[in-house]
């Protein structure tokens, strides 16, 4: 029983990471109808960049963990803008869905390969900013870092939600999301909003990267499967439902930790991917999403 609780708590932490990355998918999909297929790589770059600042891989540490986070956020935002400018904007202009899918995939593998060449192919440990002695909650031992992941993820999502609701810039984002053409006609610079959404998307992925890095290992290949599973979460929750991704993330996180424990760690990625196939087969708009009406 304690073990199950422990698996659930670890699963929730993992799920919150998925939710944060999935949140990034949602933000670009809402404003531009596009997704960054290199979202996992954005997470990886964030973690690697954070490690270079706060760890000793690049001759550091230069900053402590907490001061490193704002730097990583800025880095993530910048990386997102690059993806948008190089991979997405030209494709939006030519209305080529194939174009942005392929170019964000291409950028993703370029980032991964560059990271491999800078930091090597091996996984590295990330120094934990807080005590790594497990806490005991109802008999289950939990890493303090896992709790911090939950708090950090929720905090970020609340902040963005507040930004959207309370500020005029947030309203521009919401307006663009609900009707890009109409928003453009009302004088909103929708191109800028799309760039912003990409910055936000990669920023949240980079943030997720430094949150999860102390729990797992950090390496150039950490992003690929994570990005895919976060997409599964975005689909399961629905691409337009904020609550959905949290529920979906937690669901998947728990499914994964329990599979890893009871079956084999080799199979831990399977339930998420199978769940993705199932949800798309049964309810493509996700468990919490609204179905779009097609116009003829």
């Amino acid at each position: 029983m304690e073990i199950l609780l422990q698996l659930i708590l670890s699963g929730v932490a993992l799920g919150m990471i998925y939710a944060v990355v999935a949140f990034g998918y949602q933000s670009t999909f809402a404003t531009s109808g596009t997704l960054n297929f290199g979202q996992g790589e954005a997470l990886m770059l964030g973690a690697m960049f954070g490690l270079s600042l706060a760890g000793d891989v690049m001759g550091g540490p230069y900053l402590n963990y907490w001061l490193m986070i704002p730097a990583v956020l800025i880095f993530g935002a910048f990386q997102g803008m690059v993806v948008e400018a190089v991979g997405v904007r030209p494709a939006i202009k030519t209305k080529s869905e194939f174009g942005w899918i392929m170019s964000t995939i291409a950028l993703g593998i370029i980032f991964r390969n560059v990271a491999e060449n800078i930091w090597g192919k091996d996984d590295m440990p990330f120094p934990s900013p807080i005590s790594s002695t497990p806490l005991h909650i109802f008999g289950a031992s939990v890493l303090p870092m896992e709790l911090m992941v939950d708090v950090g993820a929720l905090l970020m999502m609340v902040l963005v939600e507040l930004f959207n609701r309370k500020t005029i810039y947030g309203k521009a984002v919401v307006a663009t999301a609900s009707d890009r053409d109409a928003a453009g006609l009302m004088g909103i610079n929708t191109r800028m909003v799309i760039t912003f959404s990409y910055a936000l998307s990669s920023m949240s992925a980079a943030f997720a990267g430094v949150l999860i890095a102390p729990i797992t290992l950090t390496g150039a290949s950490m992003g690929a499967v994570l990005g895919l599973k976060a997409f599964a979460v975005a689909i399961i929750g629905g691409l337009n439902s904020g609550m959905g991704i949290i529920v979906g993330g937690i669901l998947l996180g728990i499914a994964e930790t329990t599979t890893g424990f009871y079956l084999s760690t080799g199979y831990k990625d399977v339930p998420g991917l199978v769940l993705l196939l199932l949800v798309l087969a049964i309810k493509p708009s996700g468990l919490f999403g609204k179905t779009a009406i097609k116009k003829v």
């Binding site: 030209p90 899918i101 995939i105 593998i109 499967v225 087969a281």
Partner: protein, 644 residues
């Protein structure tokens, strides 16, 4: 011209078979050549999905792996000969393709890309983990293939692979030229129109994907015996990217493109090993960009913006080429950059680009293979409606169509009698087009039923409704733009084919006869709507008014009992409208019932037998045109009530 093509093909085939002799006994190069051929076979299949149906599949490395492992396991565990392994691989992989396609192809675009990626990842994980079957990460080593009791060396196997390559080139070409190929192209051109022509988008996408998977499995099986050792790591995400790069770089929708693409991706790593050659190539790229920049300025443009990316890219390329001593580790980055380059500057791939250059000088060399049809031959029964028993052909009862809180149709009844032209009018936003979509199955009504020929059809799929005899045109034109006028109509005639895949592959007399009949009938239909001079013209190049007529022609291909025309006169010039009225009358004379949505009142009043008027989702009047015209409610709906 034809002789020329045959000659070129014979020479090319001859060279392919002579290569091992020419290369002497350099086993490495023979092996690489075989690998190119194997990748090319896979790419023929991938092209069906990427080029024809226009979807991105990231599952093909996984499918390739499944094929490779099917043969590998059969050979390693049971000593099954390679040709039986090949056949088993085709079927096993096609089955996996089907398992993936059935759920996955309900979605498209980015969703599908992600789902296929998930599938590919699962396939790799399972191959890795199921070591009782696959020997896990250690991989499988197998013996050289044996044919007629003789063990085949590199060279011998090369001949096998080349034969397979030529054969699959021929067979895939046959599929894509047939009604199946037209269906694939149509569903990319306009999914909704395909469905309304009785060509179920879902069904044909699944079909395309399964064929593609089978071919991938076949290629995987060939791969196993070429390498003689397979391990799970081979079939990873990078391989999928490699395949996609090859297909888009070589050129989509051609048979030559895959071969060019495969050659590039196989030889590129060799090239990167040779840093000197890479440096030379980067200088060539600089020359290319300089020409591009000069051309840009000579052509009178002064904007700098489009130049930034090429110039930056090429400077990065040259700097890295001369700074780095070893390019091997940067292989993936180079692939990524190539994808970006192709996506933005070489959309049609190398073959497509060469074709467009040739087309600039000798257009007739690259024109779509023209179909020759005697224009004066007109079939008597080209335009013919299904004969159905009941007098009231269509009856819709209490149709309610709700979108959220909006009632686009509010309990509307509509009865259409056989052999009449029934007008459906009303101000903008009154629910006419919604009604159209309900009748053709694009929307399922919230409540109420539609019966056609006394059978309930509401809730059926659009393709099924179309095949029952309801055809339609679209207010916003939904032609298959890249297909010719004749081919557009032939998609409408898809239902006349009884030939199956085997008929197409073997080109049986039945298939040839059906194809010939469909062509002749399509030509006659085009003559019927007055488009006989546009037979081989691509639909997107037709003048606007002609495009509207082509939509009608395509719908007539279905042998409809009921034809729904959604604003056919919109955007037409007065003489074109006169032609249109004649055509609609002729359609009625051929026993086809018509529902006509139209804003041109003279058209409606001139040819309709009955008219129904909708306003805000409700039917406000119905009757003979003259009665409706003088109905005060109708006048109020159109012009507003008098000041009160």
């Amino acid at each position: 011209m034809k002789l020329f093509k045959v000659l070129i093909s014979i020479i090319a085939i001859g060279v392919l078979f002579l290569i091992p002799t020419l290369l002497g006994d350099n086993e490495y190069y023979v092996h690489q050549m075989a690998l190119i051929a194997i990748y090319a076979v896979l790419l023929f299949g991938l092209d069906i999905v990427v080029g024809y149906t226009g979807e991105v599949s990231l599952a093909h490395a996984g499918l390739f792996g499944i094929g490779a492992y099917t043969t590998g396991i059969l050979s390693w565990r049971f000593g099954v000969p390679f040709y039986i392994g090949d056949i088993a691989s085709i079927f096993v992989t096609a089955l996996f393709g089907l398992l993936l396609a059935l759920p996955a192809l309900r979605v498209t675009g980015p969703y599908l890309a992600m789902v296929t990626l998930a599938f590919g990842t699962i396939a790799q994980i399972l191959i890795n983990e199921m070591d009782f079957l696959t020997n896990g990460p250690l991989g499988i080593t197998i013996q050289q293939p044996v044919l007629f009791g003789k063990s085949l060396n590199e060279q011998g196997y090369y001949y096998v692979v080349i034969t397979v390559l030529l054969l699959s080139m021929l067979l895939v070409g046959r599929i894509l030229k047939s009604h199946y190929g037209r269906a694939f192209e149509a569903l990319r051109g306009s999914p909704v129109a395909s469905d309304c022509m009785g060509v179920s988008v879902y069904k044909y996408k699944v079909f395309a994907f399964v064929i593609s998977a089978g071919i991938a499995g076949f290629a995987g099986s060939l791969f196993t015996f070429n390498e003689l050792y397979i391990a799970p790591n081979t079939f990873n995400f990078d391989l999928t990217i490699l395949f996609l790069l090859a297909i888009i770089m070589g050129g989509r929708k051609t048979r030559l493109g895959p071969i060019v693409g495969a050659t590039i991706v196989v030889l590129l790593p060799n090239l990167l090993d040779d840093i000197g050659l890479f440096r030379d190539l980067s200088l060539a790229a600089v020359a290319g960009v300089i020409i591009f920049v000069l051309k840009h300025f000579i052509s009178g443009q002064r904007t700098i913006k489009p130049l930034i990316i090429p110039v930056v890219a090429v400077s990065v390329l040259v700097t890295s080429a001369y700074r780095l001593q070893d390019m091997t580790n940067w292989r993936i980055t180079i692939f990524g950059c190539l994808i970006l380059f192709v996506v933005y500057y070489l959309q049609n791939g190398i073959v497509g680009w060469i074709r467009s250059v040739i087309g600039h000088f000798k257009p007739e060399w690259v024109a779509r293979s023209l179909i020759k049809i005697d224009p004066n031959k007109e079939l008597a029964h080209a335009v013919e409606g299904k004969t159905l028993a009941s007098a009231d052909l269509l009856s819709a009862k209490k149709i309610l169509m709700q979108f959220g809180g909006l009632k686009a149709l509010n309990e509307v009844d509509l009865t259409v009698f056989k052999g009449t032209i029934h007008g459906l009018i009303g101000p903008n936003g009154s629910g006419k087009s919604t009604m159209m979509n309900v009748l053709t199955g694009i929307y399922t009504p919230t409540s109420g039923t539609v019966s056609f020929d006394e059978k309930v059809i509401s809730g059926n799929k659009p393709a099924d409704i179309a095949l029952k005899g309801i055809a339609r045109t679209f207010q916003n034109l939904q032609l298959f733009g890249e297909m010719t006028a004749l081919e557009n109509v032939m998609v409408g005639l898809h239902h006349t084919y009884r030939s199956n895949l085997l008929d197409v592959l073997l080109q049986t007399p039945r298939y040839r006869r059906e194809e010939q009949q469909a062509r002749e009938r399509a030509a006659s239909i085009l003559k019927f709507v007055g488009l006989e001079s546009f037979i081989n013209e691509e639909a997107r190049n037709l003048p606007y008014g002609r495009q509207r007529l082509l939509e009608i022609g395509r719908a007539l291909g279905l042998n409809p009992a009921l034809l729904l025309l959604d604003e056919p006169a919109a955007g037409l010039t007065p003489p074109e409208i006169t032609d249109l009225i004649d055509i609609i009358r002729k359609i009625k004379e051929h026993g086809i019932t018509v529902i006509l949505i139209e804003h041109h009142m003279d058209v409606v009043m001139g040819i309709c037998d009955n008219v129904s008027v909708l306003d805000f989702g409700q039917k406000i009047a119905e009757g003979k045109p003259q009665e409706v015209q003088s109905n005060p409610k109708v006048i109020e709906a159109y012009l507003g009530s008098q000041a009160s």
